[in-house]
Structure formats: structure tokens, C-alpha cells
Amino acid sequence: MTEIATSPTYRRTGGIRRLLERYPFLPALAIVLVLLSLNGVFSPNSLSYRSLTGLLSTYMALILLAIAQTYVVYAGDIDLSAGSILSLVNVAIVVLMERWGGGAGAVLLALALGLLLGLACGLVNGLVVAALRLQAIVATFATSIFFTGLALYILPVAGTPAPTIFWRTYGGRLLGLPFVFYILGGLVLLLLVLGRTRLTTQLLAVGDDQQAAYQTGLPVVSIRVRGYLLCGLFSALAAFCITGDTASGDPLVGGKMTLFSVAAVVLGGSALSGGWGTVVGSLLGALTIGLISSVVFFMGTPSEWQNFVQGLAILVVLMAGVLAGRRARP
């Protein structure tokens, strides 16, 4: 007979609990709203249309990277090379655009190749982690060094500018609306579509209990590899945004962003152990990180204290999220 349950937690599901179960990103949303209003208190100007657009275009790359990270975290994996993939794609497309003259056709072709490069990096990670069964955290740390090495080979020093047409489009307007809004809209559509795929459910099932998923008959290895492919794809998209934002190539630009992406996933209410989370939460988590930096800045914190306050604020937000999210997780 099976072991008798050691933790009987089967109480009735209440209203809030039920709501949190359905929309686990609600705490993250509340935090974003609080931070927005704090921003408004310290600097009313920061809530203007213009500054919000600026915030979005600065943090769009982190949003995409956090979403990239989410798909591997779904399956209980992690990708410490996401930032390096971003750097690699960033320098690759900038160098290609420059070589090919910087026209519209060159830009599109370079972007297509950038997507393929991101997918290739994801494939490498997936094979190393899922097929060779190496520890995800160490294996992707190793591939991150490898990808950074490639990026440094392609562009040893930062500074090659991106073609004007590229960053003007990213920072500009289309039919009266800032371009980043279109990106955001497209992203939301893409996430909705991805959320309905069988792959999303399968990734979550694998993250929930890998052995159970295997015994159920799911192709666990292939599912995990596809998670890493999605991660590579979104990291490449994140690279496009960072290229549009900084207008140049930098082989080390993504290094620091990796752990921010992991933090954003957790702030968004996903479980690092897998099986539980939402991409919308990660989107909000990335915004939270952006808003914290901006609150810290607008509060007039002296520059030498900014890192200190920022770290503390992330801890506080994390704690608030945990307290709220604890009720949702079965």
C-alpha cells in the first residue's frame, strides 16, 4: 500500500485562493501597480506617456529574456546562458547588418539569421541538458561561457553601431503609436498562442514531476529540448530589442541580464522547481525590476546607495510575492 500522506493540506479552496490559482500573476500585477504609483508620488512626470514608453523600450529586452527563461523554468530547468545568447545574437546581427550595407533588406535578413542563431544556441543547451543529462545549472553556465567566447570572437570590442534604419524604427513611431507598443501587442498575441499549445502543458507536466511524466508516456527529452528552443528563440528576440535600444553591438551586454531574468520569473510567481507559473507573470516581474530601478532613481537616492536600495527593494518585493503566492500553490 502506498505511504499514507504525510502532509494533509486538502482544505477547501476559498475565493482568493481560487482566484490566485487561476491567475497566479495577480500578486505581481499588484506590485507593478504599487510601484507605478510610487513612481508617480516621487516624480509625477514619470507617469507621462513619454516616460512610460521609454521605460517599456528600455526593459522590453529584459521582458523577453524573462519570458525566454520562463519556458525552461516551466520544465524545472534553468538557462544561465540566456544572457549570453542575447549578447551573441546582438553582435552577430550588428556585424551582419554592417557588412551587408545596412539597408532594409540586409536588416531583415540579419534578423532572420539572428533567430536561427538563437534557436541553434537553444538546441545546444537542450541537447546538453536533456539528452546528455547534465545538470542544467552548470551545463548552461558552461555554454554561456562558450557563447560569450563566440560573441567576443565576432566582435572583440563594443561599439559597432547598428544601422540607423533599425534603431530609428525601434525607438520611433508607426501610425502615431510608439513602435514598442506594437512589439508589446505582438508579444501578447504570441504568448496567447503559445499558451494554448500542447507543448506548454507538456512542459509544465514535466516540471511538475519528471518521473511521472516519463511514466505517463510523454517524450520527456524532446519536450525539454523544445523548451530550450523556445528559450533560444525569445533570447534572440530580446537581442533585437537591446540592439534597438542601445543601437550598437556589445559582446558582454547580456551577461548581467541572465540573473535578472531568473529573478523576474520568480517575482512573477513561477516556481523555480518547475510545473507552476505564467509567462504574463514573468513579463510583470521584468517590469517590476525596471520600475524598482526607476523608483530608486526618482527617490533621489545618492548614486553610491542605489545598488543597496535596489537589492533591498527586490528582496522586499520577493517577500511580498511569496506571502501572497503561498496561498495559491497546492
Binding site: R196, R198, A212, G217, P330
Partner: protein, 501 residues
Amino acid sequence: MSKLKLNGVSKAYGATLALRRGDLEVMAGEVHVLMGSNGSGKSTLCKIIAGSVRPDDGRILIDDTPVTITGPRSARAQGIGIFYQELSLAAHRTVEENICLAALPAKARLFVDRTALKERAARYIALFDGVSGDGFSADALVGNLRPDQRQLVEIMKALASEAPLLIFDEPTSALDRAQVERFFEILRDLKRRGRGIIFISHRMDEIKAIGDRVTIIRDGETITTLNLGETDAGTVIRLMVGGAGDMPASQSSAPAVVDAKDGAALTVRNLSGAGFRNVSFEVARGEILGFGGLHGQGQSALLRAIFGAGSIATGEIRIGSDRFDAASPRDAIRRGCAYVSGDRGRDGVISGRPIIENVTPIHYLRDRLMIARPSKLSDRVAPALESMHTKFASLFHPINSLSGGNQQKVIIARWLIDRPDVLLLDDPTKGIDLSAKADLFALIRQLAAEGLGIILYSSEDAELLGNANRILVFNGGSVSRELTGPERTRYNLYQAAYEAA
């Protein structure tokens, strides 16, 4: 017609043979029961058929055609569905998603067809309408369900495979009567439709109610197959136990029964908690009280709870005449309670550290020692280790350099420097060799003779029969029978363990 046939299937994990020789034939339209004691290889046999364990040897035939099963996916493709004893559910997914997880209905090959998924799941949920209990719905998260409801989901999931051959590895252990009745109705219906069903349960009455034939497994070998209509419970148990079933435990081996004047070392009254209900017993000084029964019937949970490592809902524990309710193991140790677990890696060994450090932590705690002086400690450590004939090169070699049996001796030696009043042994001989076992039990008897109260839970019946003065048999989290004196026979122990709770 034979649905499934196994010929000489075997499986070894390293040096241990989990399955020596499995022969089995399941017909279409029959419920074929597998019976055997703990670790006799039933689950291994089922997992081999379901593809989650690869056999080392032997042949598998489905519908009289030899097949190779490479994994759970290939088993499904061959028409095999299984209920896993340890369940194969995703706790954060909904009931309907879990039921359909193996083959999510697809739209445009890429998307989940939610409508089809709901429809398909609803068919299997409807089978248990009225008995599935409060809070059970298609969109409830499995992690929020009660254990019996989770078991129902796993049953639905197995049924949803619509496989011609279904395996149920202890599907009823958490179900109540009404749920079992409904499940058996479903099985009978499947039988009529010509499915082959393999069924494992430890409850005799259930086996009688649903089974057609029974195959007995003992020590990894399928012994024989009988028609259930032509046999009785006694025969089945005798076959499971083997030849020596009726011999009483040798009286000489058990230590002298307790002196009344010494009084109780440990008293437990109406104790309930996670995994056990309403348990009462008394251990006298100098007594070895055995805990028997099938694996996971609350014995370990109870011992851990007494030691402060598990939770207690209601009830009372006394050590001697003092009330004892340890909030943590640290507290329990200070008050003279000792616990040795068979799971050394998790509960005992401080991996990679020298032997001396592995012997002394309890001493630090009980003497509130602040500064450790190895030379002085050695004087205290050495006799403790010697009393059990522990073999080691030096006190400063890492504990990992020892064999499993010697590691366990080091763990027990911890408790010998400052003597506890009560010693809780939680299957202490798991995975250690025979000579180490003999040393261990010699010591345990000696400790009892010196006046300790000892509780011994063992998954090996011979150890209980050979060492315990009394045996409490656990079933479903509570004590179902107490065996004393000449009642302590292998046969009685099995019968008590296997009868319906």
C-alpha cells in the same frame, strides 16, 4: 486467448535481484491478481510490462506475438495502460488535464483541443459520479485533492488509455468502500468487454471479490498460478510465506520478558498524526517492542513523530513518568530519546566527515560541549565502537570509507556514549549484510537487558520474530493486532498484515 505472456523475465539492480524469474500469462477477459510480500518483485514485474523498467532477460508476448518494449511510450503503443502505485500525476495540473495528459487531444497538431479534452475527461470522471467526494471537479488542481481522490484520478488516467491490457498496482489502498465497489463494477464491465487486467492488492476480501486467477510471487520468483475459486486465503498466504510459515519464533532468542517493577519506559496514548491514527501502547524497560505490517502503514511516521521529526495532532507520550512531547529532534535527544533510521544517507551519516565526527554529535548536544578535544573524545568513542565490533582503519578516516553495515554501527555508536532511555529503530538493517545484522541485534538485546525501552520496526519479519517480545501489526495507520508469546509466528504476522483494515 492469451493477452499477455511473460517468459523468464528478470531484473537486477546492481547486485540485488529485484526479479529473479517472472512467468505470467494473462487472458483476455480475466482479472489476474498478483500476490507477494514486500519487495517480492510485484511492482518491478508491472513496471517491466509498462516499459518504465527495462528487463535484463526474458520474453514478452502480446497476443502471442513477441514484442520489445523500449519505454512507457512504446508500451502504450502496444496497448498497455497502467495505474502506478506511487501515482504518476502532475500536482499543479487540473484533473481533466491529468486524465488526458498521455495523449492531449490536438487541434491543428499544435494546440490543445480544450473541448475535446473536457469531453474525454468527463467520460471517465462520470464513472465515479457520486463517490468521488467533496471538492472533486474536472478543473480542480490534483494537488488540492485528498489522497483517495488522487488515486481516483490515477485510475481514470489508466482507464483513459483504453488499453486492451490494464495494470493496477495497488489501486485501492486509499479508497473507501463505496469507491472500491464502484471501481470493481467498472472492472467487471471491462472484463466483459474482453480486456485483460492485472490487479495487485493486499486485501484478501478484495481479491476474492474481483479476481479470477492469482499468481504468487516470492523472493522475486513467480511460484505458481491458481484459480481463486478453488483455493482459500490460508493456502495463498502459506505459498507467499514459503515452507517455514507455521514454525513459531524461537522462544530462546527473545530476551526475558520484562520485570513489572521496572515500569514503563515509553507510554503512548491515543496518538494521531499525519500517517497514523489512534495508536496506544506501552514499552517497558528492558522490552523490545516490534512494529510489523506491510511497508508504509504508519510505522515510520509514528516513530519519526515520537522523535519530534513528524507532526502529532492529538494524544499523549510519556517517557518514564514525565510527559514527553518533543517539538524537534534536538529536544527529543536532550530528553533521552534516540532514533536510528535505516535510511542512513538521509537521516544518519554526515557524509565525507571523519568517523569520530560521526560518532560525537549526540554527545555534543547532550553535554552541551563547546570545545572538542579529539584525544579526550577518542577515549569515549572507542569503547562505543568496539562494543559492536566496528571495523575501521582510524577514527579520522571519512565515514564513506566504511561498508554500509559498519556505517550503521557508527551511527548507532553515537547513542551509546550517553545512554538514552528509549531507542527507536526505524528499519535499521536496511541494506546491510548478515554479520553486521547479527552484531547489531546482539547489541540491541544487550541494551534491552540494561533497561532501555526499545521499539523495533523492521520490514523483515524474521528480525521481528527473532528479537521482539511483542509485535504490533500496523494496517492503514493503526494497530490491527498484537502478537505475544507463542502467537508470534510468521503465519500470524502475514495474516494480520494482509487482512482488510
